[in-house]
């Protein structure tokens, strides 16, 4: 049961440190420079532009594989975040980046289909995922990525995931 009078800084600190633990535990996300912006339980993934992300130096454009990876990372973090939210808020778990065993196990990708809509420009990209259906064993997630305009997607994807079993 949520405590109405819980100090705000305590709430923010619990949520931010859990999110940080989830993200900083994955070396590949750190290497790509992916971070997450949190508003309540809503997450927005940010992929800051870097020269190593380029796939077509002539245009230039971000590598399609980077776009796919960014979408997949966003889907996995959103799914883990949504799955752990109740346990986090009730205090049953307290993920801590310094204690690997405290981190929830991540869902495994079964399949992932990326629809490329526009070429990725050499600038920051953003993504948000929506858990369409999450059962005990399988989940389906839709994710969208954009750059300058939220309505002009650069790519979208749907993926199926195997949830970690308790």
């Amino acid at each position: 049961m949520a405590d109405r009078n819980e100090p705000l800084h305590q709430i923010k600190s619990r949520r931010d440190s859990a999110l940080n633990a989830l993200v900083s535990g994955v070396p590949y996300m750190t290497w790509l420079g992916i971070r997450f912006d949190r508003r309540g339980d809503e997450l927005t993934a940010i992929l800051p532009y870097d020269a190593k992300l380029i796939g077509n130096p002539m245009l230039p454009a971000i590598h399609g594989g980077v776009t796919a990876a960014f979408l997949e990372v966003t889907a996995i973090i959103e799914l883990s975040w949504a799955a752990m939210w109740e346990d986090l808020e009730s205090g049953r778990i307290a993920p801590d980046a310094a204690v690997p065993d405290s981190l929830p196990r991540l869902p495994k990708t079964i399949d992932f289909t990326v629809d490329y809509l526009r070429s990725g420009l050499p600038r920051d990209a953003y993504a948000r995922a929506r858990v369409v259906r999450s059962g005990r064993r399988y989940a389906s997630v839709h994710v969208e990525a954009w750059q300058d305009n939220r309505a002009r997607l650069i790519a979208q994807a749907t993926g199926h995931f195997l949830m970690p079993q308790p």
Partner: protein, 141 residues
């Protein structure tokens, strides 16, 4: 005319010109006739699951996408350039930590403007693919 060794050298230069392919350490092993084989080494910073050391699925996507693109460029109809329209990846099992990952892509059908591709990703066990992919790519003339 170029012989196969020249072809592979040109393809490797093409890969080296792609910053992200270089960042992942990709190497062209075979190329020609609408087919490509590209591999890359396992590395610490590419790990997606720190508990097991298994490489992130996104890395496999990047390798498959590059390999499919290279197969389109190596098609006998010589497309001028290509871009991914869609790519679906099925992850069959976790890639074994520490082993190279090799993608093999084949352009199984080509129209004036679209190339259709199939690809698989393997580690050291050649009989048990890590992932398979199907995709549609543009073929610009």
């Amino acid at each position: 005319m170029t012989d196969p060794a020249d072809h592979a050298r040109i393809a490797q230069q093409f890969i080296e010109a792609i910053p992200h392919a270089r960042a992942l350490g990709m190497r062209v092993d075979e190329i020609g006739q609408g087919r490509a084989v590209i591999s890359m080494p396992w590395a610490d910073h590419l790990v997606g699951d720190p508990r097991t050391g298994v490489i992130h699925g996104g890395v496999v996507s990047a390798l498959m996408d590059t390999c499919c693109g290279a197969a389109v460029m190596a098609h006998p109809t010589n497309p001028r350039s290509t871009a991914t329209i869609d790519l679906r990846i099925d992850y069959m099992r976790a890639a074994t930590p520490g082993q190279r990952i090799t993608a093999r892509a084949e352009c199984y059908h080509m129209t004036r403007s679209v190339a259709f591709l199939r690809a698989t990703a393997l580690d050291d066990d050649p009989d048990n693919p890590v992932a398979s992919a199907t995709g549609a790519f543009t073929a610009e003339r």
